[in-house]
Each structure stands twice: as C-alpha cells, then as structure tokens.
C-alpha cells in the first residue's frame, strides 16, 4: 500500500507538471499542424462561412501552378546553393582555426558576428552593398575587371545574391560546429599520420575529413532544411515603396503568405505548407537513415 502511494505521488507530480506544458504544446503546435493538414483539402477564403471539402484539388492545382513551381525551384536552388557555398568555406576556416594562433579569438568573432546579427539589418546592409547604382559590390567586382551588374534585378544574380548573403550569415555557425568536431578528433591520430610522413593536406584528407563525415552530413542537411524556410531576406530585398528589386526571387514561404493572406486562399496556402513539410521531413529522414547506417 505504501509503495503504491509513492508511485502515485510521482505520477501525480509528472502529470501535474506536464499538463500545462502539454496543453500549450497542443494548442500552439499539434493543433495548428493538424489544422493545416485538414485545411489543405478545403477551399476557404477567410471570410465565407462555408469551407467546402475539395479533396486533393489544391494539391493537383499546385502541380500545375507555374508560380508555385518557380518558388519551389528558386527555394531549392537557394537551399543547395547555400550549402555548396557555405559548407566548404566554413570547413576551410574551421580547419585553419584548429591550429592555435594569437589572433584566433579575433577571427572567430569576425566570422561569427553575422550569426548573431538579426536578418533584417543584415539584409539591409547587403541591399545597399548590392545596389546597382551606388553599391560597393559593383566597385569590388570592378577591380577584377567585371562590368557593373544589376545584382538585385537580374533574376539569376538576385538568386545568387540571396545565396551569398545567406551563406555569409550562416558560415560562422557551421564553422563552430566543425570546430567542435575537429577538436574532438583524438590528437594521436594526427601524430601517427605525421610520423608516417603525411603533410597537412594528407592529414586533412585522410584523418580530418573521414572522421568529420557525420558532422559534415549533419551540417549540410541542417543548412538545407533551414534554408527551405528562407523568407526574411527575400521580403526585405523585395519590399520597397517604389518598384521593388529582388522581387524576382519568389520563394515558398513568400508564396504561402501571399496566397493565404493576400489572395485569401487559405486551403491552397495550407496545401503549399504541407508540401514544405514533406520536403523537410524527407530531408530529415535521409539524414537519419544515413547517420544511423554509419553509427
């Protein structure tokens, strides 16, 4: 009898403390996610009382919607572009920073600063740098003999600009993760490699890289997943009282918000959101499976 009451007291504590957390959780996470799912099969304009069930029609329309497909393509290009630009660079910096140097704290700070800077002011700084008329970017590329470019207006360059500024922002974060990974590599492996006559490139190629592979995969996938939600940069680049530059870069979240809150197509926007979820889940699953195999 005594034992039973103790475990009951513990249950009571567990349930009593978890109840509010679970309640909040249900209300601001689980419920909305479920509602998005259900809404994606309906047609609703935010005003009407009727929300007719239309099955998979929203999804079928999405597959034919050029704007959605372009958003999807842009977002994909951006997400993978950020990985290809930021991951090798951050790995390079991390490897260089693994050797002790007097100025390391300075470098670490410089590379990490963009990570803590919020996105809106960061994008505004870039918006100015990339300005076609007065921006320093054109001066910079001019030193290498490149003609001035309309960075935010030319569709390809605008896409590249988003990749560039996002990579700048995330580089320091990836660098830190790599740095932790490198510091966790046992030093005697390097010592052994050096004794075997390996140079610094061979040490990187045959010791660092193989041991870092899980972290490399982790960083790449996390970067892709995060980048699929790209929105703030595009919003800031594209918003302007006059003709907005950067509008050419239409991304998924932009499209979701526009369809939902501007064209009042809540069901359609929900279907789009579900597509985003499917993409993110697939990527996570790939990461999970690959990492598990290696472990």
């Amino acid at each position: 009898m005594f034992r039973w009451s103790i475990s009951r007291r513990r249950w009571l504590f567990a349930y009593a403390t978890l109840a509010p957390v679970v309640a909040i959780y249900l209300y601001i996470r689980i419920l909305p996610i479920g509602q998005t799912f259900l809404m994606s099969f309906r047609n609703w304009d935010l005003i009407s009382v009727n929300k007719p069930f239309i099955g998979f029609e929203n999804y079928l329309e999405l597959l034919r919607d050029v704007t959605f497909l372009r958003s999807l393509r842009n977002t994909t290009v951006i997400a993978f572009g950020i990985v290809f630009l930021s991951v090798p660079l951050s790995l390079l910096v991390a490897v260089l920073l693994a050797t002790p140097r007097k100025l390391n704290p300075f470098y670490e700070t410089a590379y990490f600063l963009p990570v803590v800077t919020s996105m809106v002011p960061a994008t505004l700084a870039w918006k100015w740098i990339l300005d076609a008329n007065e921006g320093p970017m054109n001066q910079f590329v001019g030193w290498f003999g490149v003609e001035p470019q309309a960075w935010l207006i030319n569709p390809r360059l605008a896409l590249f600009s988003v990749i560039l500024l996002s990579s700048w922002k995330i580089l320091g974060y990836n660098m830190i993760i790599f740095l932790v990974g490198i510091r966790n590599i046992p030093q005697d492996l390097y010592a052994a490699a050096t004794i075997d006559g390996a140079g610094s490139w061979q040490r990187f190629r045959y010791v660092t890289l193989p041991l870092l592979r899980p972290i490399l995969l982790f960083v790449s996938v996390i970067t892709v997943i995060q980048s699929y939600n790209v929105y703030t940069q595009v919003y800031v680049l594209a918003s302007d009282a006059q003709g907005a530059p950067g509008y050419v870069v239409r991304v998924l979240v932009y499209d979701i918000i526009e369809n939902g809150f501007r064209f009042f197509r809540m069901g359609y926007a929900s279907a789009e959101a579900m597509m985003l979820l499917v993409i993110v889940m697939t990527l996570t699953l790939i990461q999970f499976v690959t990492l598990r195999d290696r472990a």
């Binding site: 957390v21 002790p100 740095l179 959101a273």
Partner: protein, 292 residues
C-alpha cells in the same frame, strides 16, 4: 580574449610543424585575415552609410570612410520612428520567450527523463517529430487561433508561439539522463523531500550549464523572429525591432542614410550582448547545434 572553445576541450593543441609549416602558416593567416575582413564588410558599410550625408551616399565610387561624418541620420530615425519602443518590444518578447522556454523545457525534459509513467514514450516521440516542422507550415491556423482569442495585435499574441521549444525539451531530457544520477533523486525522496523541492533544489542546479546554453539559444531565436511578428502585429507601437526596421525602410527608399542608421540602432543591442557573453553564446550554439 581567449579562444571561445578553449574551455570546452582540454586536449593538447595540434603543434607539429612540417617543412612547409611557415609557408602554410602565412598563407592560412592571409586567408583567415582576408576572410575576416570580408565578413565584417557589411557592418562597416552599414556604419559608414549611416554616417554619410545624403549627397555623399550617392557619390560614385562609394567611399568606406565618410568625408564629413554626420549624426543627422540618427536624429532623423529617432524623430520619425519609435525605435526605442521597438527595441523594448523585441526585448520583452525575447525575455518572456526565454523564461517560458526554460521553464517548460526544464520541467518537461526532467520529467520525461526521470519518471516512468504511461504515455511517456509516445509524448517524447511526438515532441521529437514536431521539432522538425517548420513554423511556416502551421502559422496560418495559429494566426486564426490567435485571432479567435483576440490576441492579434497584442503583446501576448506576439509571444504566443514562442513559449515552448521542442528542441529545448529534448535537449534537457538528454542532459538530465546524462548528468543527474538517480541516486541523488532517491536520496532526496528518502529524506522526505517533495518532488517539487527535488526539482528546484537538486535538479535545476545540476542543469545550469545546459539551461544557460538553451537560454541563449532561445533568446536569439526570439530576437530574430520575423514572420510571426509581421503577421500578428499591426500597430506601430507593437512592432519588434526587426519588423519596425523592415517596414521603416519601405517608406525611405530615397534615404539610405536613415535606413542604415536604423539598422545600426537595431543591431547594436544584440552585438553588445554578444561581445559581453561571447564565449557563452558560442558555446551554447555549439552545444545546441550538436543535438543530432
């Protein structure tokens, strides 16, 4: 300044020189230095533009160092927009969100780690599964819920989505399993301590490290929020610094100086916090990043 990760690991540093050591060292220093300068460029331009006169901003080629530095842009910004209020809103949002996330993560993470009760595994799996769902996926129904509750355009509505963090619960659970011995809890129980007392006096002090890492992460996450504040708040007095700045620039296309001054103002507080807590912040982010 000490290297930020030197506290996390005490293994001896790699210190073996090869024949190419010196050449390699010089070239790596050059790469690191050029890279560091490029990384800081946007900040320098932001500051430079903020200090320029309208005439000088339009001069080609642009000069990094203003010829006649002026604070006029900052005066303009404070005269036309309530930046102080926006920063305060951001701070309120970040503080409330951080405290809420710390409280909910600590208690839920601990209970899930150390208590056996029916449904524990299911709960944990659900939390784990929703951790990867991007906010953008469910923001529309959340907006409608907030609207039904009359929370649109209020501070509580602004804070609503950020009271809880799936990853926070997961993170604390892992740490509680790893660093809180069951014996310690049992000892407390045998001494007749209440479960609540054990949690606040025994468990929380042992979790200080992970909790502060989580706190930093949560604070930055809340400070950087954009999509939700943009949707959920409509009146100027409730904007966060991020939203205020983004909408401020739309009215000032002709005035890059004012926009840059606004950027400098909104970026300053977080940079100051960063320089003060540099090591903790980087450590916290490194920890949180290694969740996988």
């Amino acid at each position: 300044m000490k290297s930020m990760l030197s506290t996390t690991k005490t293994t001896p540093q790699l210190n073996i020189k090869t024949r190419h050591g010196l050449v390699g060292d010089i070239s790596s220093t050059i790469i690191l230095m050029v890279g560091a300068i490029l990384m800081m460029m946007p900040f320098l331009w932001m500051l430079s533009t903020a200090l320029k006169t309208p005439g000088e901003i339009l001069v080609w080629p642009p000069k990094l160092i203003p010829e006649n530095p002026t604070l006029q842009n900052f005066v303009t910004v404070f005269a036309t927009a309530p930046f102080g209020r926006w920063l305060l809103n951001s701070l309120l949002l970040a503080v409330v969100s951080t405290l809420a996330i710390l409280a909910t993560s600590a208690i839920a993470g601990y209970v899930i780690a150390k208590f056996t009760f029916p449904g524990r595994m299911a709960l944990f799996l659900v939390i784990l599964a929703t951790a990867i769902v991007p906010f953008e996926v469910y923001m529309i129904p959340l907006y409608l819920s907030a609207s039904r509750l009359g929370l649109i355009n209020t501070l509580p509505g602004l804070m609503m989505p950020f009271l809880i963090m799936s990853f926070g619960i997961f993170f604390i659970r892992q740490n509680a399993i790893a660093s809180i011995p069951d014996e310690l809890i049992e000892a407390g129980r045998i001494d007749g301590a209440s479960e609540f007392w054990i949690f606040t006096r025994v468990v929380v002090p042992l979790l200080t490290g992970p909790l502060s890492a989580l706190g930093i992460f949560a604070f930055m996450q809340a400070w950087n929020q954009f999509v939700w504040p943009l949707l959920a708040v409509n009146s100027k007095s409730l904007y966060t610094a991020e939203v205020g700045l983004a909408l401020f620039q739309t009215g000032y296309t002709i005035n890059f100086g004012a926009v840059s001054a606004g950027s400098v103002i909104s970026v300053m507080p977080i940079l100051i916090v960063f320089f003060v807590l540099r090591r903790q912040i980087i450590y916290g982010i490194a920890l949180s990043g290694l969740k996988g």
